[in-house]
Amino acid sequence: MKATVHVTLKPGVLDPQGTAIGHALSGLGFAGVNSVRMGKFLELDLAETDKAKAEAAVKAMCEKLLANTVIESYRVEIR
């Protein structure tokens, strides 16, 4: 199965990268960008064939490694 994981900063947590990208975009002449937030996107290819089990496993991976749950939240999708 394929899993995708979105890891994003929790609301309110400073995102220096996003801020700098927003700045750079306006410097390049792109007007009207109010804000940019940057996160991570992971695609996992899993041997597991049971959807529920795959989801549980990926969530465990997020808690343990893929996301820093102190400042980040994550979203898992299984296909």
Binding site: V13, L14, V70
Partner: protein, 729 residues
């Protein structure tokens, strides 16, 4: 005033104030405070900001001397290094945040100490770090090591300040409370050191740097509260660092400082806008009025409470000369930083904070600062430990013991760590990590600064006074070993809960020992930091008073390292070896015994021995030099051999001392010198009345002990370099 939102006992308690402290607050205010005002008292009277448990003892440190330009009390201390220049330095802890979020906690710790130094008008030239982690076998340790090291590197590398030295120990007492202490050394013009005292009513107050968010609100109170399981729930209080913004802030501030524009400048560290504005007003004996509507924020709907207590990083508060606002605006705009006029210096002596046209805070500054709680907490001295006779300890075969020691977590090479730190940027690093002290050149002069951090917690727990003195003395020795004249120290006192008399006893003992050593060595304390409540569920850390020392080298080509660079050098130990094994690393690692009184310190002897050694280095008589510390003589020689890639043939120990005590005893006031001119060294030592003994000669690519086995450098190196990478993989 805005209406009061019910200050209950519960609310007061949540703010970390005792009933007595709250009563004092009421007396000062002469009315019930607003929640925002309570918040301000809470952070200003926290242990972290007020030093309420340690202040009476810190006053006993020697803080002056002919070279001291600025002692404790400002953002950082400063000493005169000649040529019209000053070395500015300080150490700071970020222990609790680093335990909760190791990368960001450590990174923002580095960011904070850098700001303390460049706030003084100094360009940072080097970073150091002192790290203590729990048992390597503890499930959290690896993750913490990896995050902390990446965080320190991530911040320092990006901002372009080399991280040149540090120390890293492991002990189960740090399982729930790691220590992350970061030190920065900077250079300033001696006649242009910037201070934080507000002057001139009517002068404008400017806010520059990053926008304010809801970061780390209550961070300062958290850093003073004992950890419980629940405090992990305070997680959203961690701040995220932005080294890129800090780099811009650094360059912009230094550019502005070159103009005639600044009256006072203070970084927003712990307790952010609160402590920076209060401290500026207090130091100038004046008031400050702030309008929070002008503070750049990155969240909507922030309250006065939140804005005043936010610990968002990379921000500065400035008071500028009349008309200088324009200069500041131009420079900060060039560096693409926010700069906002948020208030004015007043004559009222009050901190007045307005938001949406309402006065939310109105506190008399002088009593807030001067009447802050001060405790002379009860303390009991640590129980005396017995002196352990070397003859009563397990005698291991020297090569086997050496192998064990060189590969133990505390002594194993920390290359895996410093490889992740850019220790070269600037091209002024004359001695890189791996030696006794790092040496960094002073630009455009022949001088260099030597710098080091040290502490031996196992001595401090065994006998706080001796341990405190030893921490000071070890930095002094490390600076001496590279030929530097030690100038002054900064210190970071890391301890458990001061409300426990045993812990308070450790604090008092360590401070006493440190002060005594500083006085005897003319080596004053110019800055420092205190971190208490490093305790989880009643389990305190080992007492860890980290000392950061800085020394001066007049001619940077005359420093030596510890490496044996060629065969045929005579190895001589300077100082007397009696074979003290109590509280030694040998005893802990080989006999599994953390016991005994630590080696005594004789400050007169230290001074005499160090002065001799410094002379040997400076006169070129020493081709290599290393002080003898953890692990004793054989470990010191092994480190010299590995550093230079040349081994040694060592003479048999003298009679009358157990072989293992000779090689692994931790008697103080000793150095190993490698020389081309043994007669010259012995003569100088004799003139100085310092005992010496020939140890052997540098030779081949192995260490050979007369009558005691041998080991190749390749094998030794594999052991020494292998532990940490293997552990981290």
């Amino acid at each position: 005033m805005i209406p009061n939102s019910k200050i209950t006992d519960e609310v007061v308690k949540e703010h970390g104030l005792t009933q007595d402290e709250y009563a004092l607050l009421l007396k000062i205010m002469d009315r019930e405070p607003t929640l925002a005002e309570l918040g301000i008292f809470s952070v200003m009277w926290s242990e972290h900001c007020s030093y309420k448990s340690s202040r009476v003892w810190l006053k006993t440190f020697p803080v002056s001397g002919p070279k001291v330009l600025q002692g404790p009390g400002e953002n950082a201390g400063a000493v005169d290094i000649g040529d019209g220049l000053a070395a500015v330095f300080k150490i700071e802890s970020h222990n609790h945040p680093s335990f909760i979020e190791p990368y960001q906690g450590a990174a923002t710790g580095v960011g904070g100490i850098l700001r303390d130094v460049f706030t003084m008008g100094a360009r940072p030239i080097a970073n150091l770090n002192a790290l203590r982690f729990g048992d390597p076998k503890h499930p959290k340790t690896k993750h913490l090591v990896s995050g902390v090291v990446a965080g320190i590197g991530g911040y320092g590398n990006c901002i372009g300040v080399p991280t040149v030295a540090g120390e890293t120990n492991f002990h189960p007492s740090y399982n729930g409370n790691i220590l992350v202490n970061a030190m920065t050394v900077g250079l300033a013009r001696a006649d242009r050191i910037f201070k934080a005292a507000a002057r001139g009513p009517g002068n404008r107050v400017l806010y520059v740097g990053a926008k304010t968010g809801r970061d780390g609100i209550h961070g300062a109170t958290m850093a003073s509260a004992e950890f419980t399981e629940e405090s992990e729930a305070k997680r959203p209080t961690v701040q995220v660092g932005d080294p890129f913004t800090e780099k811009l802030l650094l360059e912009a501030c230094l550019e502005l400082m070159a103009e005639d524009a600044i009256v006072a400048i203070q970084d927003m560290g712990a307790a952010g806008l609160t402590s920076s504005s209060v401290e500026m007003a207090a130091r100038g004996g004046l008031g400050i009025e702030l309008n929070l509507d002008h503070v750049p924020v990155r969240e909507t709907g922030m309250t006065a409470y939140e804005i005043m207590l936010s610990e968002s990083q990379e921000r500065m508060l400035l008071v500028v000369k009349p008309g200088a606002e324009k200069i500041a605006e131009r420079i900060f705009a060039k560096w693409e930083l926010d700069c906002a006029d948020i208030g004015v210096v007043t004559e009222t002596g009050h901190l007045v904070v307005k938001k949406n046209g309402q006065t939310e805070i109105d506190i008399p500054v002088a009593p807030l600062v001067d009447q802050s709680p001060l405790y002379r907490r009860p303390h009991v001295p640590s129980p005396r430990r017995p002196v352990i006779k070397a003859a009563n300890t397990k005698a291991a075969e020297p090569i086997a013991a050496l192998k064990k020691l060189m590969g133990c977590p505390d002594l194993a090479s920390k290359r895996w760590i410093w490889d992740q730190y850019d220790h070269l940027v600037g091209n002024d690093t004359i001695q890189t990590p791996g030696g006794d002290a790092a040496v960094v050149r002073v630009r455009d002069t022949r001088k260099a600064l030597a710098m080091v951090v040290d502490c031996t917690p196992r001595y401090c727990v065994a006998d706080p006074k001796t341990g405190g003195a030893q921490a000071v003395v070890e930095t002094w020795r490390n600076l001496t070993a590279v030929g530097a004249e030690p100038i002054a120290i900064t210190d970071n006192l890391n301890f458990g809960n001061p409300e426990r008399p045993e812990i308070m006893g450790q604090i008092v003992g360590c401070i006493e020992g440190m002060g005594e050593a500083c006085r005897a060595l003319d080596y004053p304390v110019i800055s420092g930091n205190v971190s208490l409540y490093n305790e989880t569920n009643g389990q305190g850390i080992l007492p860890t008073p980290v000392v950061g020392g800085v020394g001066l080298i007049d001619e940077y080509t005359k420093t030596v390292g510890l490496g044996l660079s060629k065969p045929g050098l005579t190895l001589i130990v300077i100082g007397e070896t009696k074979g003290w094994l109590g509280a030694s690393l040998y005893l802990r690692e080989i006999a599994g015994w953390e016991e005994g009184a630590p080696p005594p310190i004789d400050l007169k002897l230290e001074r005499k021995t160090g002065d001799l050694v410094r002379g040997l280095v400076r006169s070129g008589k020493a081709a290599a030099c290393h002080d003898v510390s953890d692990g004793g003589l054989l470990v010191a020689i092994a480190e010299m051999a590995l550093a230079g890639g040349i081994g040694a043939k060592l003479d048999a120990p003298p009679a009358g001392i157990p072989v293992h005590a000779w090689w692994f005893g931790e008697d103080q006031a000793r150095y190993v010198v490698a020389t081309d001119d043994p007669a010259g060294v012995l003569e100088a030592a004799k003139a100085a009345k310092v005992p010496t003994r020939r140890l052997g000669e540098s030779a081949s690519r192995s260490l050979t002990l007369e009558g005691g086995g041998a080991i190749s450098l390749d094998e030794l190196r594999a052991i020494h370099e292998g532990w940490l990478p293997k552990y981290m993989s």
